[in-house]
């Protein structure tokens, strides 16, 4: 208004404003565009799309892309596209879960897995039985913990025989099975007993709650039949097929069943995933029948399954994947309880005094400490114990030789990284806890609840989505961290997957770093790009989990 008037009277030009506006826009987009270009370069190097036959693209265009776009466009007009895409994410998520499980099976031998599963089943059964019997919470917790401890660790009675039933008591179930039971089932049976049975029971239980007892029985029966049916195929190993059935087929079927049943108006949304799946299948068959070669991608199953070698063609990053998975386990196990605990203290318990402000200031400063310094902390504290490792001290008349943790182990690397992300977890959890309305707390106190009861029953349940989202995003950052790992590894990293938490670590970013200095262009533009693609995909999956968790809980709380 004023500007129009000014335009006519003074020499204020509109051009300057418009130019300024577009300069700003270009500046904003330029950074994004440069990242996009770099990522496009990586994708071209990793997938090598130009090596494919043009008819390969033509076939997939006809069978997959065009039908999916048409159906998607049609559904979009009915606002069903989002639901359709979501349905597609269930099997994809299941595939990633199955992949993570296979990586875990590489670390844990199946007999150990079996032994611990049986051990854990004992307290779980006690808990279930006491719940059904209706005993009080205290008795139930005591019985479960007591029996569970005996079942898992055993009673340390020196000098008592370790055979027979007494051995079962003294050694605990897992150790007993590993040492004394000689007829351990094979891979397939182990996973059938430890995975298929609980999943079948869970499906049956859920169906019984939703529909009826017979429906529950049918659901359990269907899962068991599907698990047994994999014996009759010869394409892949039976245990691989079993895990795929349990983690991909069963969740997808469950999702389809519940959506179909609960949202009858939205049934049309299944047209999208069905089109995509059928299109992909048809394209695959057509390509196979006509024997057309697809792109010669560096990212393939062999790349995910093999160990790194000196030759670009046979190099893989399986050990790095296993290492990153184990590191993630350590990071979550240490940073989640500590971070949430600190956030609860600062938001719910802390008095407003100097010490609290000191902790708060300290946390924000810790967030700014360079990651490489955390590596030094891990090296100096966990491994060298501040220079005290290897020295002897006498304590209460006994001489103890101090021994740091093994150099470069998964545990030390994971702990260094979890200290690094701890400030992020604390700050995001604090924000989530702060967003719980004060009136809820007051209502809880008004009913006579103590502070801990308020925290347990009111504050934490309400802030779980925010806490989980923040933690998962922090874990995503932890996966990409390299510098602390290099510092604690001190030049000694292995090319075989770690066998346990105290074994030498290797991780995705470390593998990328070590490949970066290979002069061979096949490494630079092929293997390295493929490694980067795998890392970015892992990060994308972790971040989508965070988004899905947030959306799911937000929908529930409204």
């Amino acid at each position: 208004m004023a500007t129009e008037h000014a335009d006519t009277t003074t020499a204020v030009s509109r051009t300057r404003g418009v130019v300024f506006r577009y300069v700003l826009l270009v500046a904003t987009l330029s950074a994004l565009a440069s990242l996009g270009l770099l990522l496009a370069n990586v994708a071209v190097d990793a997938f090598d799309p130009l090596s494919a036959d043009p008819s390969w693209y033509l076939i997939y265009l006809c069978t997959l892309v065009v039908p999916s776009l048409l159906v998607g466009w049609g559904l979009r007009r009915h606002e069903l596209l989002v639901g359709g895409i979501e349905a597609l994410f269930v099997p994809i998520g299941g595939l990633f879960g199955a992949g993570a499980l296979f990586l875990l099976f590489e670390v844990i031998p199946f007999n150990v897995w079996f032994a611990w599963a049986v051990g854990i089943a004992v307290p779980a059964a006690i808990w279930l039985l006491t719940t059904i019997a209706g005993t009080s919470g205290r008795v139930r917790a005591g019985l479960t913990l007591g029996v569970g401890a005996v079942a898992l660790i055993g009673l340390p009675l020196p000098g008592v025989s370790t055979t027979g039933a007494v051995g079962l008591l003294t050694m605990g179930v897992p150790a007993y099975i590993q040492r004394r039971v000689y007829t351990i089932p094979n891979y397939y049976l182990t996973y059938l007993l430890t995975l298929a049975v609980p999943i079948a029971l869970l499906v049956g239980h859920q169906l019984r709650k939703r529909v009826s007892f017979t429906a529950g029985l049918t659901g359990t029966g269907l899962v068991v039949i599907a698990s047994l049916a994999v014996l009759f195929q010869t394409v892949v190993y039976t245990y691989v097929a079993l895990v795929l059935v349990l983690l991909v087929l069963v969740p997808t079927a469950w999702y389809c069943y519940t959506q179909w049943h609960d949202h009858p108006a939205d049934r049309l949304q299944f047209a999208f995933p069905v089109t995509v799946l059928i299109g992909a299948g048809l394209g695959r068959i057509a390509v196979w029948v006509l024997s057309i070669s697809g792109p010669n991608s560096w990212v393939d199953l062999q790349f995910l399954q093999d160990a790194p070698t000196r030759y670009a063609e046979s190099a893989g990053l399986n050990p790095a994947l296993v290492g990153s998975l184990l590191l993630m386990v350590v990071v979550i196990a240490t940073s989640f309880p500590l971070g949430v605990g600190a956030a609860v203290y600062l938001e719910e318990y802390a008095p407003d005094n100097g010490f609290t402000r000191l902790i708060q200031l300290n946390i924000s400063n810790l967030a700014g400490v360079p990651s490489v310094v955390y590596g030094l902390l891990g090296l100096g504290l966990f491994i060298n114990l501040g220079g005290m490792s290897g020295e002897s001290i006498s304590l209460f008349g006994q001489t103890i030789t101090l021994q740091g943790m093994p150099t470069g182990s998964v545990l030390v690397g994971g702990m260094a990284i979890s200290l690094l992300i701890l400030p992020i977890v604390i700050i995001s959890s604090q924000e989530a806890i702060r967003s719980v309305p004060e009136s809820l707390r007051q209502a809880s106190f008004g009913m006579g609840a103590t502070r801990w009861q308020t925290v347990k029953h009111v504050v934490l349940p309400r802030s779980v989505p925010g806490i989980l989202t923040g933690t998962i995003l922090a874990v995503g950052r932890a996966v990409g961290e390299t510098a602390p790992l290099i510092m604690v590894l001190a030049a000694s990293y292995s090319s075989s997957p770690p066998a346990g938490l105290l074994d030498k670590a290797t991780a995705l970013p470390l593998q990328v770093y070590s490949w970066a200095f290979e002069p061979d262009p096949a490494f630079r533009h092929g293997v390295l790009a493929a490694g980067v693609v795998v890392m970015i995909v892992v990060l994308l999956v972790i971040n989508s989990i965070a988004i899905i968790v947030r959306n799911k809980y937000e929908a529930k709380q409204q």
Partner: protein, 322 residues
């Protein structure tokens, strides 16, 4: 119901369960203080062993160590070859170069993006651009190093008349600059959003254009937030490790950070030198091992000082609007 009332009567603030919960949460919060103390103790102990005067007192062989003055004021950094020399000035000059180079990229772009998001963008545009910019900070730094080495350096090699080496500072500065843009943008934008609308309205009332309001009212009003975002982002650039460790080479020499030609040659900053020492063939008792701690302490002090200055600027010079 009866069990709940029973619970309530048995549990008061003084009950063991309440105390246990309180102490557990307190311990979690206190861990952060312990971590800070741990960092300082580990760095200072390691650095003390590195310097001759204190190293001898701590029982170290004098031949393995350096004097504090030679560390601070000399410019030869050769930990891997005889004679071993540890002059901080060489890696420090590379760190300053990294800071200046990434500042040239990140500060104008980050500020421009902040002004655009805060003043010009529609709500819809903002809801797309803000998360998109955050992605820049979410890409792992080792991936940025790979970008610099494999894509940006060959491109620069064709563009620059004299060519650049396989390892060079300029590609490292570019990727680190891109990486810290979101930091500048998010904090500056917060500061600009805190400028009250009445100031803008007053500007429009006086006949100012949107350009005038943005550059003459909003930016000056938010200048403390912008300055603190700059310092924080630069401290992040100084602490950045993997991208420079991959892209900027392994040798440190004293260079003039104000000389543009110097950016086309390799020069390894403090962080990359630490990685270099860690991956090199070092024993846990040698001077190279303790040099890592001396470098770490230097880095920690610099970044901590910058973070504190940024904090002070944003709190002391924050304009209070009501």
């Amino acid at each position: 119901m009866s069990s709940i009332t029973a619970d309530l009567t048995t549990q008061t603030t003084k009950s063991p369960r309440e105390r246990l919960a309180r102490w557990f949460f307190f311990a979690c919060a206190a861990i952060s203080i312990v971590v800070t103390i741990g960092i300082v103790v580990v760095l200072v102990l390691g650095a003390l062993k590195f310097f001759r005067s204190t190293g001898v007192a701590l029982g170290m062989a004098p031949g393995d160590t350096v004097t504090l003055s030679s560390y601070l004021f000399e410019g030869q950094w050769t930990p891997g070859s005889e004679p071993q020399q540890f002059g901080l000035l060489a890696p420090l000059s590379a760190t300053v170069m990294l800071m200046l180079g990434s500042a040239i990229i990140a500060l104008p772009l980050g500020l421009a993006a902040a002004i655009y998001l805060s003043e010009y963008a529609s709500d819809r545009m903002r809801s797309v651009l803000k998360p998109a910019l955050e992605i820049l900070a979410g890409v792992p730094t080792v991936v940025y190093g790979f970008f610099a080495l494999v894509y940006i350096t060959p491109l620069l090699d064709q563009l620059v008349p004299l060519g650049v080496g396989t390892f060079n500072m300029v590609s490292a500065c570019i990727v680190v600059g891109i990486m810290i843009i979101p930091m500048v943008t998010s904090i500056s934008e917060d500061a600009m959003n805190a400028v009250p609308d009445s100031l803008r309205q007053a500007g429009y009332g006086l006949g100012a254009t949107k350009f005038d309001v943005s550059t003459s009212i909003v930016v000056p009003s938010a200048i403390s937030g912008i300055a603190s975002s700059y310092i924080l982002a630069l401290s992040r650039a100084i602490g950045e490790t993997m991208a420079v460790a991959i892209a900027a080479g392994s040798q440190s020499t004293v260079m003039n950070p104000l000389n543009p030609v110097a950016y086309f040659s390799p020069n390894s900053p403090i962080t990359a030198q630490m990685i270099q020492l860690a991956t090199g063939d070092i024993s846990a008792q040698g001077a190279a091992y303790h040099a890592m701690f001396a470098l770490g302490l230097t880095l920690f002090v610099i970044t901590l000082a910058m973070n504190i200055v940024s904090e002070l600027i944003s709190s002391r010079y924050r304009e209070v609007y009501r």
